[in-house]
Symmetry: C2
Amino acid sequence: MLSEAGYLVLNKIYEPIQGDLAKVGEDMKALCNVDIPWLTEMLTYTLSGVGKMIRPALVLLSGNFYKYNRNSLWPMATAVELMHNATLVHDDAIDKSSVRRGKSTINNVWGGEKAVLLGDFLFARAGEFATDTGNLEVVRLFTQTLSTISSGELIQTFNAYNLNQSKEDYIERIACKTASLFCLATKTGAILGQAPRRSVQILNDYGYNLGIAFQIMDDILDFIGAEEELGKPMGSDLSQGTLTLPAMLLMERYSDGNPVIKIFRNEDKNKNIPLAIDMIRNSSIVEECFMEAADYCARARCKLNELPDIEARQSLAELTDYIIKRKN
Amino acid sequence: MLSEAGYLVLNKIYEPIQGDLAKVGEDMKALCNVDIPWLTEMLTYTLSGVGKMIRPALVLLSGNFYKYNRNSLWPMATAVELMHNATLVHDDAIDKSSVRRGKSTINNVWGGEKAVLLGDFLFARAGEFATDTGNLEVVRLFTQTLSTISSGELIQTFNAYNLNQSKEDYIERIACKTASLFCLATKTGAILGQAPRRSVQILNDYGYNLGIAFQIMDDILDFIGAEEELGKPMGSDLSQGTLTLPAMLLMERYSDGNPVIKIFRNEDKNKNIPLAIDMIRNSSIVEECFMEAADYCARARCKLNELPDIEARQSLAELTDYIIKRKN
C-alpha cells in the first residue's frame, strides 16, 4: 500500500544499499518455493505484498559504517523482515483482522488455525536465517527480541479494554512490541558490521527512538489516515480495545461521557468509533502526538552525530524524516 | 497424568541422568518467574504440569556416550522441552481443545489469543536456551526442526477431513510433527556430547524411530486409553478430522458405511465417534497398530548396538519398551 511518492522517497534513502536490499527481496521470494504447493501459495501470498522494507534496510545501513560484510548482513536483514511478517500474521489472527496492506489477511483467506501455524513457520525460517549469520551473539539477540515482542503483545492483550493506563505504560508497551525489532535490526547490523561497542550502542539507541516514533505514527494514522492508503480500516485499535496515545489524550481532555469509555464498555461502537475519530481529528491531539513522534525522531537523529559521516548515516537521518511524514 | 507405575519405570530409566534432569526442571521453574505477575501465572500453569520429560531425557542420555558436557546439554534439554510445550499450547489453541494432561488448556483458561502469544513466548525462550549451548550447528538444527514441526502441523490441518490419505502420508506427517523433535533431542545431545559423526547419525536414527513409535502409540491411545489416564477426551483425533493409523485401517476394512466417513462428513458425530472407537477396539486393528509401533521400537533399539555399552545405552533401550507399554 506504499504510494508512489513514498516509494520514491524510500528508494532515495535506500540508495547506498539498493543492491543488497534487492537480494533480501530475492531471498524472501526463494523461500516461498517449497515442495508443498499450498504452502508455496500461502508463503507467496504473505511475502509478495511489497512492504516498506524498513527493518532490513536498517540492518544493512547500520552495517555500513565499519566493515561492511554483506554475507552476514543479508541473512540478518531477511531474518528481521521475516520475523516482522510472522508477527503480523499472528497479530491479524489474534485480532481477527480481515484486511492488511489492502489485501485480505491470511486468517481471512485460510482461517486462524493455519495463520497461527504459518506464523510459526515464518518465525522458524527467520531463526534459520539468523543462524546463517554465523554469529551467536546475533542469534541470541534475535531470540531475546522474539521474547520481548511476544510479551509486549501479551501485555497489550491483557490490557485490552483497560482505561487505566498511563503514557509510560503505553511507551513501555510499544517499546516491546515495535521498537525492540527496530533495535534488533540496527544493533545486529552494527555488530555484524564490526562496529566498536560504542557505535553498537548508538545504533541500538537510534533504533529504539526510531521504533517508538514509528509506532506513535502508526497509532496516529489509525485515526487520521485514508483507509485506501493505510490498507486497513480506520479506528481498528479502538475497536480492538487497544488504548493508544491519541485515545489516551482524548481521555484526558474529556473524562466524562468520552466515546472511548463507551467503546471500551462495548456501548454502540458503530456510533462511538467514528465520533472518537472525529473528536481526535478536530482537536490539537493529532498535533501533540506528532510532536511526540517528532521528539523521538529528533533523538534518533541526534544519536547519529557521533557516527562516521558516510552516505548510510545520511540515509538513517532521512529515515527519521520519512517516518514522521509517512501516510501509511 | 503420569501413573505411579509409569513414574517408577521412567525414574529407573532416567537414573544415569537424574540429577541433570532435575536441573532442567529447576530451569523451567526459574523461567516462570518474570516481572509480569500474570505472565508468571500463565507460565507456571503451563510448565508445572509434570510431563514425562522424555525429550530432555533423550538429550541428556544421548550426550552421555563420549564427552558428557552438562553445561551445554542442560540448556539444550530445557530448549527441547520448552519447544514441546510451545507446540502443545499452539496445538490446543488451534484445535480449541479444552483439556490437556487432565488440566484445562491455556486457551480454555485465558482464551486462544493469549495462548498463541504464550506459545510464541515459549518458542522464543526455547530459542534462547538453544543459543546457551554456544553451538551454532545445534541452534540451526533447532530452528530447522521448528520449521519441520510447523509444516507438519500445517500438512495435518490441510488434510483435516481428507479421507484420501495413504499410510505413507501418515508416516510422513508424524515424522514432521513428532519424530523431528525426538531426532533433534538425540542428535543435538550426541553433537554436544562430542560423539563421532557415525554415532550422531545412529542416535538421530534412534530418535526418528522412537518418535514414530511414540506417535503411533499416541494415536492408538486416543482410541483405547482411559480418559482419566490420558488426561484428555477419547476419539479427539477423529473429532478434529485427523486421520490416524487406527482409523485408516478401519477405513480399509469397511469401505462402505464406515463411521469414519460419516464423522468426516460431519454426520451425527455423537453416535459415530463412539461407534468408530468400539469397532477399532473390537477388532485386530489395535494389535496391528501395536505391531507397527513395536517394529519402529525394534528398529530404534537395534540402532543402539553400535554404540558404546554404557548405562545410558541401557536406558535408551528400556525407553523403547516403555514407549510401547505406556498408557498415557
